[in-house]
Symmetry: C2
Subunit: 209 residues, 2 copies
């Protein structure tokens, strides 16, 4: 498959949400105009995005909801289960452990780790928090592929390197820290503090207008 730009992957992910919503509403087809309206883009963009992957539309009828959903899930790698560990069982890590949205998408939490004695042994939605020093030993057995990293910023880089050595290839980092990704490891960031600062910058400047 040819390389798809990140902006396209983002839109595919949004289209999939609308397709799944349409399926829940009992619709068999959806037009490029509907997908565009929901995704905040144009019909032409929708057709261009989807034309990469084959033909799903019938002129005048629109796209088949089930065929297109299946194809997008395939493209995004959602037609399989991903084994996920959570590193850090503080406020954010615990919320992630209990977030149902992940399981719905095939992300299965296989382990949760922390260093604090008070957290080790606690059960979060049926999974017991384990001592972080067990990460590598457990990984050899559980073969996690993705790590959600919710540790203090000062611990983030070390844990990314440990996760990489343990065979984890994808990391979603929640720590407000700059991370140097080891070779062959994809690191993405969810940076709430950064988003809030962009927001307060926008509000500050809106006031000055």
């Amino acid at each position: 498959m040819k390389h798809i730009a990140e902006s396209t992957v983002r839109r595919l992910s949004l289209y999939l949400r609308f397709l799944e919503q349409s399926r829940r509403e009992g619709k068999d087809t959806i037009s490029s105009g509907d997908l565009a309206g929901l995704g905040g883009t144009t019909s032409a963009q929708v057709r261009k995005d989807l034309s990469f992957f084959g033909s799903f539309g019938t002129r005048g009828l629109g796209y088949s909801v089930s065929a297109l959903s299946r194809r997008i899930r395939e493209i995004l790698g959602l037609e399989r289960e991903w084994r996920v560990v959570i590193i850090g069982a503080g406020k954010i890590g615990a919320a992630l452990a209990q977030y149902r949205g992940f399981a719905d998408r095939g992300y299965r939490i296989v382990g949760i780790y922390d260093v604090a004695p008070a957290r080790i042994g606690v059960s979060l939605d049926g999974i017991t928090v384990r001592d972080q020093k067990e990460l590598e030993g457990d990984a050899a057995r559980l073969k996690p592929e993705i790590a959600l990293l919710a540790v203090p910023p000062t611990a983030a880089q070390t844990l990314v390197e440990r996760a990489a050595k343990a065979g984890i290839r994808g990391i979603l980092n929640f720590a407000p820290a700059q991370i140097h990704a080891p070779a062959g490891v994809e690191v993405r960031h969810v940076d709430m503090a950064l988003e809030l600062e962009i927001l307060s910058y926008a509000l500050t400047n809106a006031r000055k207008k």
Copy 2:
């Protein structure tokens, strides 16, 4: 002040983290090279970013950590307190309520709202969850400026509109939903599910190489 591109605002926010770290380490000055290395960019880019806002550097000595921190905080709107409400006290909303990173940056939580009777009245880090129908009445008194929206996707748009009518000008949305921002309201998204899908797309394609 002239308009600054979002990519620049992001870098300023990262520079600020490094400056604050340098201050904690007792450093008085920092070079553009150090800032660049930490921020994953070049010295030239750092100098260009900072030249917008005046002169902080001395050739051979670098930037003054305290003067530059203060100026970036001013630009980002962090030299003041922001009044924040959290809408939705589920797993994510509760984690946000208890996240210390916000208070450290001057974001003060003044209210938390939910619709579920089991959550209303519960105290989260000293703030009692209130009935969501009190949002507008409370806002008239508390004058919140920013809302963190952590509600189910189907409720998100309605709540954005209610928040906007209540005078809230900035919304950080955690719901996996497409939001149409009312006029004069800045909406930013923290979309964990989307980031995970971009990650699984990248891992799926890395395998195929």
